[in-house]
């Protein structure tokens, strides 16, 4: 091989960017942490779909998971805010600029404990953003205390057994108004990638609870959030694939085997049946399936519930089409005659 040979051309996406702007700083999380795999999926998905980095706002709370927005999308603004409060900050940011794509990364401490109030109200409002819970059942940064998603009977590294009922964020999401609810596993590359792509296409709030093992504090025998436990107990509802709106569909659907869902932006979500027929638009079925799986000790993954066409927060607020943040003075300060009129009324 000649030494002078040109380097292979960089792979670019459909908007002509290579992967570099989609990458972030070097991770400071533990080697093997599930969160790092999720960051990689986010990079991959946004690169492949050709999302403009400047259009994304990376939002987080506090914790191991909340550090990760520093590790992807270096050309996107990011906000590592206050523990459990990413929903409020993100809601505000999206009210200010409706053109932003909000990607929120939180943990189970953020979402299921300190910030559960904000989480619930964000769901009610159908804030149009992607909300990822990197769920490992423990507090990593404070060295391994149980979180509120730890399963009953799960064992802490120190040997303590959790006696309390876990909070299932997906069940809450379905009950409280999330319009796209999925569960996945950081180790299931293909499924997580396709789910995240569908989230990008969804108009409204999409909630993804990703079981993301903590290699340092919760990957031992007796933990129900360890790699080996999740691999053994994961039960995928369907095989998820995604065809973006700008690509032609090449494979015909086999009747009865695959559900094809056309998403708001024209992309197609394809759910291939695995064992049972599952209709993700049926709320009651979704709740039953999750509850049954919990009873039998299985971790149900896939797209659990979706509802299209519901008004988002932006619709409810009746805002102008342009971002409020950059409206010129002429559109946000009424004229002197308006003030004069108000004063006359008060005389």
């Amino acid at each position: 091989m000649s030494a002078a040979a040109a380097p292979p051309p960089k792979k670019v996406n459909r908007i002509g960017l290579d992967v570099l702007p989609y990458k972030g700083g070097k991770t400071t999380l533990c080697a093997g942490c599930g969160h790092n795999s999720i960051s990689e999926r986010i990079i991959e998905v946004l690169f492949e779909l050709g999302i403009e980095p400047h259009s994304v706002a990376k939002m987080s709370g506090i914790g191991c998971s909340s550090k990760t927005p520093a590790y992807f999308l270096s050309q996107s603004h990011g906000f590592n805010s206050v523990h459990g409060r990413a929903p409020a900050v993100s809601t505000g940011a999206l009210m200010a600029n409706r053109d932003l794509r909000g990607i929120v990364v939180t943990g189970d401490g953020d979402t299921a404990s300190i910030g559960i109030g904000q989480f619930i109200h964000m769901l009610r409002r159908n804030v149009p953003l992607v909300y990822i819970i990197e769920n490992n059942g423990v507090y990593g940064l404070t060295k391994g205390q149980f979180s509120a998603t730890a399963d009953r009977g799960s064992k802490q590294k120190s040997g303590v057994i959790n006696d309390m009922t876990p909070i299932d964020c997906c069940l809450m999401g379905i009950e409280l108004g999330a319009t796209f609810v999925a569960r996945s596993f950081s180790g299931d590359k293909k499924q997580l990638t396709n789910i995240l792509k569908a989230c990008v296409s969804h108009r409204g709030l999409s909630l993804v609870d990703v079981i993301s093992p903590c290699v340092t504090f919760n990957d031992h025998e007796g933990s129900t959030k360890s790699y080996s436990y999740v691999k053994e107990h994961e039960m995928a509802l369907h095989d998820v694939s995604y065809v973006p709106y700008y690509e032609e569909i090449q494979v015909d659907i086999e009747e009865g085997e695959v559900r094809d869902v056309t998403m708001h932006d024209g992309s197609h979500l394809r759910l291939k049946k695995l064992g049972r027929d599952y209709d993700p638009t049926n709320k009651r079925q979704a709740v039953d399936a999750i509850t049954d799986a919990e009873k039998s000790g299985e971790i149900l993954t896939g797209i659990l519930y979706m509802e299209q066409g519901r008004d988002t927060l932006h619709d409810m607020l009746g805002m102008v089409d342009e971002p409020l943040a950059t409206l010129p003075q002429s559109r946000v300060r009424p004229g002197p005659e308006a003030l004069a009129r108000m004063m006359e009324e008060l005389r």
């Binding site: 702007p21 403009e52 980095p53 400047h54 259009s55 706002a57 927005p69 520093a70 999308l73 270096s74 050309q75 996107s76 603004h77 990011g78 906000f79 590592n80 805010s81 206050v82 409060r85 929903p87 409020a88 900050v89 993100s90 809601t91 505000g92 940011a93 999206l94 009210m95 200010a96 600029n97 053109d99 932003l100 109030g117 904000q118 619930i120 109200h121 927060l313 607020l317 009746g318 805002m319 102008v320 089409d321 971002p323 409020l324 943040a325 950059t326 409206l327 003075q329 559109r331 946000v332 300060r333 009424p334 002197p336 308006a338 003030l339 004069a340 108000m342 004063m343 008060l346 005389r347």
Partner: protein, 614 residues
């Protein structure tokens, strides 16, 4: 020495030989939820329309219906519109408090009362006017369920006649209040007023000496509450995102803003809003949304009171350290804890200035009247955006919820100031962007907004340690450099804080320093001190924090300076002790009131005289 000026004019019944003109206070005692607010506002407005300076203060319970409530109207020809403690004219409609209300009166006061209460048996040194309200209401209001409300309008007619109010003005005030859409209700109430007037003419000979006479001291002025004024100020300041959680006494600020926004800020072509208002799940979320919205470039605000401010502490610290604008109106009420939710206090001065853990300092503006609520709303946004930091606008229940006679608001002359925001074109020009670098030497860095299409625009905002490129750091020098820059920024802010209002009298060796609504009691008290004790005083009214050089100079120029404020712990004085040079501190004295009522001049005068040994 009496503060009432008397003029010897024979009264119409000859019972009194002098008249007290345009210098009295009326107190209406009713039951919460009985609809007396309308009757009281009409009474107040009638006096205002006669050109007589007037103020109205509603003393209400933390309750929807059933508990006692008092409304005080003060007319004062000199223009003193602070609270006056002494009641000259009582309207006793509430059987539960009537006895105590009557026993508290000074001799010579007038009492209009519901006849069955037989209050005239309680004292012999008052002028009693019994009115059979239940009997009078029947012919004017055939509908039984409305009688409870219409009944109150009758006392307007009685009081109007006894004080000699102009009934044409009362009619105008009534129809203004009800508006064209409720003309029928207005007619009903006007009949009730006339019934009261007629009864008084026929059955109540004038015995007291209190009279209203037309003046020309309210021309051009308006009547508005501070919360509505602040709301209007935000609308004209170009507010775009408003988030809030209901809390007394601040709720009406956002509620009235919603009304103004709907009228003034709907895009004509599309019918869509140039704003977003969202009721949050708590104050913590409300301020979190403000921080998020401001970070993304909106002019965002929230409004709350003490308990809400306590909840906002963590986010306000984030705003300070990560340098995100926020405008927070704190309509103060009596704390600590739930405290007295419907009473007034300047109890959040220290918490506004220093809220959150670690070393923090926040700018505060102190409006004293509705016109300043309006103008300072605009200043608050400009300061918040220029300095990229949370700003408190510190008002109180007295200013926020009571109706004030005020100067009309001036249309903003300065354009909206968005601060040091770099666009994509700016980034091309400057070459390098470091979010927290002190490029201009004023401590104020440059920022970019999310959504800016430029490879260099993005930065990572965090409440953890960061260097001037917004990168994570735990280094000692990075931390110290950053927080020292924040101190420089706070120093620069002094140029933006509105200058105090002050008057330095050459003859005065004593000064008075205060902020907010304390103004009204102090202005009148200075007059009392001068007239009654012959002591001249200077004053300095603070309009904002950080303190500016004028305050130091003022203290230098006087032997003693009294800091007058409405809290127990001398919070304004404490803040001065934190910030001012030590040699000045020995000159400072304290006058405090913290009973929850709006501060009155006599209280200030008494405390001043005690300490001065006059």
């Amino acid at each position: 020495m009496s503060t009432i000026e008397v003029s010897p004019v024979a009264s119409r019944t000859g019972g009194q030989s002098y008249r007290v003109i345009n210098d009295w206070s009326i107190q209406v005692a009713t039951v919460n939820g009985s609809g007396s607010q309308t009757a009281n506002n009409i009474l107040m407005r009638s006096i205002f329309q006669m050109g007589i300076p007037v103020s109205g203060k509603n003393l209400f319970p933390s309750n929807i219906a059933g508990l006692p409530t008092w409304f005080t109207i003060r007319a004062n020809k000199h223009g003193w519109i602070g609270r006056k403690k002494e009641i000259d004219f009582l309207v006793a409609m509430n059987p539960e408090t009537a006895r105590e209300d009557v026993l508290k009166l000074e001799p010579g006061a007038a009492v209009v009362y519901d006849a069955p209460l037989k209050l005239n048996e309680l004292r012999t040194d008052l002028h009693f006017y019994p009115v059979p309200f239940d009997k009078l209401v029947v012919p004017v209001c055939p509908e039984v369920r409305l009688r409870k409300l219409v009944r109150n309008m009758i006392y307007d007619g009685v009081v109007g006649h006894l004080l000699g109010l102009d009934f044409e003005e009362m009619k105008k005030a009534l129809y203004k209040q009800f508006g064209a859409r409720k003309a029928k209700a207005a007619d009903l109430n006007w009949n009730a007023i006339q019934a009261g007037k007629q009864f008084a003419e026929e059955s109540l000979p004038k015995m007291d000496s209190l009279w209203a006479e037309r003046m020309d001291k309210t021309a051009g002025k308006i009547i508005i509450d501070g919360n509505s004024a602040a709301a209007l100020g935000c609308v004209f300041a170009g507010v775009t995102v408003v988030t809030w959680y209901p809390i007394t006494p601040s709720s009406s600020l956002v509620e009235s803003m919603i009304g103004y926004l709907k009228r003034l800020r709907i895009d004509k072509e599309t019918g869509k809003a140039t704003y977003a208002v969202l009721q949050a799940e708590d104050e913590l979320a409300a301020v979190g949304m403000v921080i998020g919205a401001s970070w993304a470039g909106a002019r965002a605000m929230t409004s709350t009171s003490g308990p809400g401010v306590s909840l906002m502490a963590e986010f306000v610290g984030l705003g300070y350290y990560a340098e995100v604008p926020a405008v927070i109106f704190d309509v103060q009420r009596v704390g600590p804890s739930t405290g007295l939710p419907t009473r007034t206090m300047q109890g959040d001065l220290l918490s506004n200035a220093l809220l959150s853990h670690g070393d923090t300092h926040h700018p505060i503006l102190f409006p004293s009247d509705p016109a300043e609520c309006f103008s300072m709303a605009g200043e608050a946004f400009d300061i918040a955006e220029h300095f990229q930091t949370p700003v408190f606008v510190n008002t109180d229940l007295d200013l926020g919820m009571n109706n004030w006679m005020a100067d009309p608001f001036e249309y903003p002359t300065k354009p909206i100031h968005r601060g040091k925001v770099l666009t994509a074109e700016d980034l091309d020009r400057v070459g390098e962007f470091a979010r927290y670098r002190d490029v201009d030497g004023d401590g104020v860095p440059y920022r970019t907004l999310p959504g800016t299409k430029h490879p260099k625009a993005a930065y990572f905002t965090r409440g953890s340690g960061h260097n001037d490129r917004a990168g994570y750091t735990e280094r000692e020098d990075d931390y110290v450099n950053n927080v020292d820059r924040l101190s420089r920024k706070f120093e620069t802010m002094k140029k933006w804080i509105p200058a105090p209002e002050m008057q330095r009298s050459e003859k005065a060796s004593i000064g008075l320093v205060y902020c907010g609504t304390t103004r009204w009691a102090v202005e009148e008290s200075r007059d009392q001190i001068a007239r009654e004790y012959g002591v001249e005083t200077s004053f300095l009214r603070l309009k904002g924090y950080p303190f500016t050089q004028e305050l130091e100079d003022f203290i230098h120029a006087h032997e003693r300076v009294y800091v007058v404020e409405q809290n127990r712990d001398a919070q304004l004085l404490a803040l001065m002790k934190l910030d001012l040079p030590v040699p000045l501190l020995s000159k400072l004295r304290s006058i405090r009131y913290y009973g929850g009522m709006p501060l009155d001049a006599r209280t200030v005068t008494t405390k001043f005289v005690e300490q001065e040994g006059l």
